[in-house]
């Protein structure tokens, strides 16, 4: 389909569903049914089987017409992680059941992967799923679950066979967050907020129909999820001084009386690196658009975390007297996270998470060294041992 044809299709859709007069949810459902939700998805799944680059065309045309969006930040895990996994590994029934309310935001999703004992080493997870008739019975503890308290569904990886090596004994499920035995507790962070949750699963029953992929194939299915998490980095264009650098530069401009030569050079250095990071993102997107996806995304995640941490640390020092103060330690449960929100202290503390969440910087360096630079892997002690015999 040419871009022109696609724009014609959007125009026709808009003619039938005037954003000004159509109910928001009705509009979103119709958009999904018209294949204009994510045009790179197949027909019948909210798409038209077009190249991913075409998606931006639709978004732009609809935004111009004043169409409501599906509040993508609120449902980011569903859109970014659950949907591509269901698309790739799900049955027709699963796609038909889950994708539409996921995309419209009627059903929020969360992710039950990390565990207290399995953070960087996801494949070491201990949550057990035992077969019982047509169901699986799941018991274990998950952690770092954002949106768990608002989610209707979760993507879940659990251990179905502890007697085989760890990567071979896991299975991927869709878990009903309203099922008996699901207990969600807020997990308070260093910032005072509770963005995340701990989720305790006690004999939670999951029908086998909600298994995604084969029994024992959970690791491979989870790779689809994680790959899509990584792709999201560097995804959108950022103006110069977008993000943390802009906030700190603004603080600098507001307070001539606090400036020192030392902080000046540190700020300039971080400003330069932030500008280079922005330019690297631009190159990454240009490469993607030209069909040459580069590995720069990994570099950008490392650099993003480092710069956010150094910039916010500098801001606290710069403010000195005010850097000793903090907005508010009240425990709150924010709906969306804003790394550059709050005050300088909040930004500093929150930025510490940037090198942990979504894969630690340490794990990422290992991936870069082995997959991009081709350096040899270390000998692994956990590849051929049954999971139950691993030390932990």
């Amino acid at each position: 389909m040419t871009t022109e044809d696609l724009l014609d299709k959007v125009a026709a859709f808009l003619a039938e569903h005037d954003p000004k007069t159509t109910d928001r949810l009705e509009f979103l459902r119709a958009r999904f049914d018209a294949g204009l939700a994510w045009v790179h998805f197949p027909p019948g799944c909210g798409g038209l089987g077009l190249p991913i680059a075409q998606h931006a065309v639709v978004e732009a045309a609809l935004a111009e017409a004043g169409a409501p969006d599906n509040d993508p930040r609120r449902i980011g895990i569903g859109l970014g992680m659950a949907a591509p996994t269901i698309l790739k590994h799900g049955t027709d029934e699963q796609r038909a059941r889950f994708l539409r309310p996921l995309w419209t935001g009627e059903e929020v999703w969360c992710q039950l992967f990390s565990e207290p004992g399995a953070g960087s080493d996801l494949a070491g997870l201990a949550t057990r799923a035992r077969r019982d008739g047509d169901d699986w019975v799941v018991t274990g503890q998950k952690v770092w679950t954002s949106s768990a308290h608002t989610a209707r569904w979760a993507i879940l990886v659990a251990r179905t066979d502890p007697d085989v090596p760890k990567h071979a004994g896991m299975t991927y499920f869709i878990c009903d967050m309203t099922a008996p035995g699901v207990d969600v507790r807020p997990l308070r962070q260093i910032t005072g907020e509770a963005e995340f949750n701990e989720v305790f699963l006690t004999d939670v029953r999951i029908p086998d129909a909600h298994r995604l992929g084969d029994v024992g194939d959970g690791w491979r299915v989870a790779q689809t999820t994680l790959m899509n998490e990584r792709v999201a980095i560097g995804g959108r264009a950022v103006p110069r001084e977008g993000g943390m650098v802009g906030v700190v530069a603004g603080t600098w401009r507001e307070h001539p009386e606090l400036r020192t030569p030392e902080l000046h050079d540190r700020l300039l250095r971080l400003w330069v690196e932030s500008e280079a990071l922005r330019l690297a993102g631009q190159r990454l997107r240009e490469g993607l658009a030209a069909g040459h996806p580069g590995p720069e995304g990994s570099a950008m995640k490392l650099a993003f975390a480092r710069l956010a941490q150094k910039l916010s640390a500098l801001e606290v020092e710069f403010l000195a007297e005010d850097g000793l103060r903090y907005r508010d330690w009240t425990m709150r449960r924010p709906d969306v996270v804003d790394f550059t929100g709050g005050d300088a202290g909040y930004r500093y503390l929150r930025a510490k998470g940037n090198s942990i969440e979504g894969g630690t910087s340490e794990i990422l360096r290992g991936i870069i060294a082995e997959r991009i630079l081709g350096l040899p892997a270390e000998a692994r002690v956990d590849k051929d041992v049954p999971w139950k015999d691993l030390p932990r």
Binding site: G117, R188, R325, W329, K352, I356, R380, V381
Partner: protein
């Protein structure tokens, strides 16, 4: 906490200890990130001893915790013997108020104290306002400068205590935490980072001890105090940041104590002069002009 009286001579009702002992206590309090008003006491006591004034049970040197010797101080005006003005982000406020104002050091008991939320949960700060508060002059600004030097030197030992706790706790955690079938502490990249941190702490400890020794040595301790404070501040922050990072997710939670050390270390970095401001201040002492 006996900080107030620890370095006071015995014949003046104190315990007659040296600043060296005060620093040893500070190191232990740093190791425990103890929520006690020790640093505030050190500042007040140092100022009063220097001024030759009696040391009460509890007193506060009314300067922002971010002040440093030679740096700017907030303006509190003196009209006759009445003080007016506001000082922000004062730590450990208790007892009588010792106020740098109009070129002197004044004592008053009348102030409006407004606690503010502090980044460091274990060291409260408050804004202190005076409205024509009746005061007595007890000394001059040299006593304030001296107290800020003493405070910087003692704080360096606190920072060594923080850094050592962070290193020891991280090492212990990495020994018992398993990922990929191995103790996480066996991963070489982490081992090298912790070795570097240990190396920094060795240097920081040497600088902090030298600064504390210099306080008791009778000579001007500004140079060793600024050397120690500018170095130890950064080492403590580095140690606390590594502690949080290498604990992974658990280090980001409220339930693990790492966050208390990170907040204390970061606030301590500002306290009594940020490292960069102190380095600029020591440049002339080291004959390294800008």
């Amino acid at each position: 906490m006996g900080a107030t009286t620890l370095p006071v001579p015995e014949d003046a009702g104190g315990q007659g200890a040296g600043w060296r002992e005060v620093a040893v206590v500070a190191e232990e309090l740093g190791r425990g990130v103890a929520p006690v008003p020790y640093l505030g006491s050190v500042l007040a006591t140092a100022a009063l001893l220097h001024a030759g004034a009696p040391v009460p049970d509890a007193a506060t040197l009314v300067v922002p915790l971010s002040a440093w010797a030679g740096g700017p101080l907030p303006e509190v005006s003196v009209d006759g013997d009445a003080l007016t003005g506001t000082v922000r982000s004062v730590a450990d406020v208790r007892g009588v108020f010792l106020v740098p104002a109009g070129g002197g050091l004044w004592r008053t008991e009348q102030a409006e104290v407004t606690p503010v939320t502090s980044l460091d949960l274990t060291r409260p700060v408050a804004d202190v306002a005076f409205s024509a508060a009746p005061a007595t002059r007890v000394g001059d600004l040299a006593s304030v400068e001296h107290a800020l030097v003493v405070g910087a030197a003692v704080l360096a030992s606190e920072q060594v205590g923080i850094a050592e706790w962070c290193l020891a706790t991280t090492v212990a955690y990495l020994k018992q935490r398993y990922q990929f079938g191995r103790p996480v502490g066996s991963f070489q990249a982490l081992k090298h980072r912790l070795a570097d941190l240990w190396q920094e702490i060795v240097l920081a400890r040497a600088a902090a001890k030298a600064a504390a020794d210099a306080l008791d040595g009778g000579e001007d301790a500004t140079l060793p105090a600024f050397v120690a404070q500018s170095l130890c501040a950064e080492v403590a922050v580095h140690a606390a940041e590594e502690c949080v990072q290498l604990h992974g997710g658990i280090g980001m939670t409220w339930e693990h104590p790492a966050h208390l050390y990170l907040k204390r270390a970061k606030a301590d970095e500002i306290a009594l002069g940020t490292p960069g401001r102190l380095r600029a201040a020591l440049a002339p002492l080291a004959d390294l002009p800008a």
